[in-house]
């Protein structure tokens, strides 16, 4: 890469006043003797001014319309540090509902099992009475029936409550795994949609697999619509730092 190509990449940042002292000196030294780069720098400066003048004013009455909407909008409750209430509330609700359901089911189950065994006992007694056999010891049957039916005991109910609490804690901890420290903004960096309407496709996402950056060639007319899709941003930052190192060595 020749010197002009290296300096060209710094000209836009120089025009923005964003170069450090050493880079700034490099550029100034070069453009003092290079008409091509001087002309390019003048173009960037002119473009900066025109871009600034392209700012669009908000329409008449915009602020008033915003304030009207604000009057009818309540502010959100402040989020707890690291946790969004909105995230854990559904799980807490599910946990509470689960505990209540288990409690209701347990009591209903006990009642129903009682009814079943009462009926069974009555049937057996009738059968044995009819057969002339002595009545079986009622306690034995009840105990046998209880064991075979595995009726839920108070210990079982406690175990179920503990399981529900465990489930609630697990889901709470899971929801805490991704703390939201910026409630005002989206957590994920949004990716850009396809822009077929521009005739140009957007650049690949920041975390795309780095590819060799082809910045040395001067893009032709067709590349205007396509060049952005072939260049990787993550590669670029490394390249810039490498270039800075080269500049320092050359100086």
């Amino acid at each position: 890469m020749d010197r002009c190509e290296k300096i060209e990449k710094l000209l836009a940042a120089y025009a923005d006043g964003e170069l450090n002292g050493r880079q700034k000196a490099l550029v100034e030294q070069h453009v003092a003797h290079c008409p091509h780069c001087k002309a390019l720098l003048d173009e960037y400066l002119a473009l900066n001014d025109v871009l600034a003048s392209c700012a669009v004013k908000a329409p008449e009455g915009f602020a008033e319309r915003v304030m009207e909407s604000v009057q009818h909008t309540k502010q959100a409750a402040p989020a707890a540090r690291g946790v969004r209430l909105g995230k854990i509330a559904p799980f807490v609700g599910v946990g509470v509902a689960a505990v209540l359901c288990i409690g209701v089911l347990s009591s209903g189950l006990v009642q129903r099992m009682g009814q079943i065994f009462d009926h069974q006992e009555n049937v057996e007694q009738e059968q044995q009475t009819a057969a002339g056999a002595p009545d079986p010891a009622p306690e034995d049957d009840i105990v046998g029936g209880a064991e075979s039916a595995e009726m839920p005991t108070d210990d079982d109910a406690a175990t179920m409550d503990e399981a529900a609490t465990d489930m609630e804690r697990d889901t709470y901890e899971e929801s805490c795994a991704e703390p939201d420290t910026e409630a005002a903004t989206d957590i994920e960096s949004p990716t850009y949609p396809e822009t077929a309407q521009d005739g140009m496709e957007s650049e690949p996402a920041e975390d795309a697999t780095p590819s060799t950056e082809a910045e040395t060639a001067v893009p032709g007319e067709n590349e205007t619509e396509e060049e952005s899709e072939s260049e990787s941003e993550s590669e670029t930052e490394t390249d810039s730092e490498t270039e800075e190192g080269e500049e320092n060595r050359d100086a």
Binding site: L47, V50, A55, A76, E182, E233, T236
Partner: protein
């Protein structure tokens, strides 16, 4: 107004001061609207998006702790709102050069130019051409050029709003401007 003063307005609005919030809206409305316009490419959607930005700011005020710079906090919300809108509305939008049947008049900042009508006309022509060319760029180029040159964010602020490194800011701006220049060259403007 300085960043500290904007931060004080935000904190006052957070405490329920509607007048403070109204001052904030008036201070940021043009910057937010510019971004919304160049991202949505039409004034109707730009106004909807810009309104939504300020409503989001209002709703998020309880979470504002005064440790974020107002510029980056507000423009990040604006940037995300624009991208959400683009994701939702994937239809092809006609490019809008006019509003309500009339050419949109942008304010001429330099008052001296007004005394020279031909120069003012030439500047207006160039400005319109650059704006048209800007609207033809991919969204990430439109976004960074608007945030830098119309909204006045520094490279450091761009890093925070766009969540990218400084090297990427520099290279993206360089590519965006070169692409813009190529479009303008094809129209013999540059």
């Amino acid at each position: 107004m300085s960043e500290k003063q904007y931060a004080r307005l935000l904190l006052a609005a957070k405490a329920g001061d509607h007048d403070a919030f109204a001052s904030l809206v008036r201070a940021y409305q043009d910057r937010v609207y510019s971004l919304a316009y160049y991202m949505t490419k039409n004034h109707h959607d730009a106004e909807d998006v810009a309104q939504e930005v300020f409503l989001k700011i209002w709703r998020s005020l309880p979470s504002y702790r005064g440790d974020h710079e107002p510029d980056t906090w507000i423009m990040k919300i604006a940037k995300n709102a624009c991208l959400d809108h683009l994701k939702q509305k994937r239809t092809v939008e006609p490019l809008e050069w006019e509003r309500d049947g009339e050419i949109l008049e942008r304010p001429i900042v330099d008052e001296d130019v007004q005394s020279n009508p031909s120069q003012a006309f030439a500047q207006k022509e160039m400005r319109d051409e650059v704006a048209k060319a800007l609207l033809r760029l991919p969204p990430e180029y439109r976004e960074i050029l608007t945030l830098r040159y119309m909204d006045g964010l520094s490279y450091e602020q761009l890093c925070r709003v766009l969540e990218i490194g400084e090297g990427t800011v520099k290279s993206r701006l360089w590519r965006a401007k070169n692409t813009l220049k190529k479009i303008l060259e094809n129209g013999n403007i540059f």
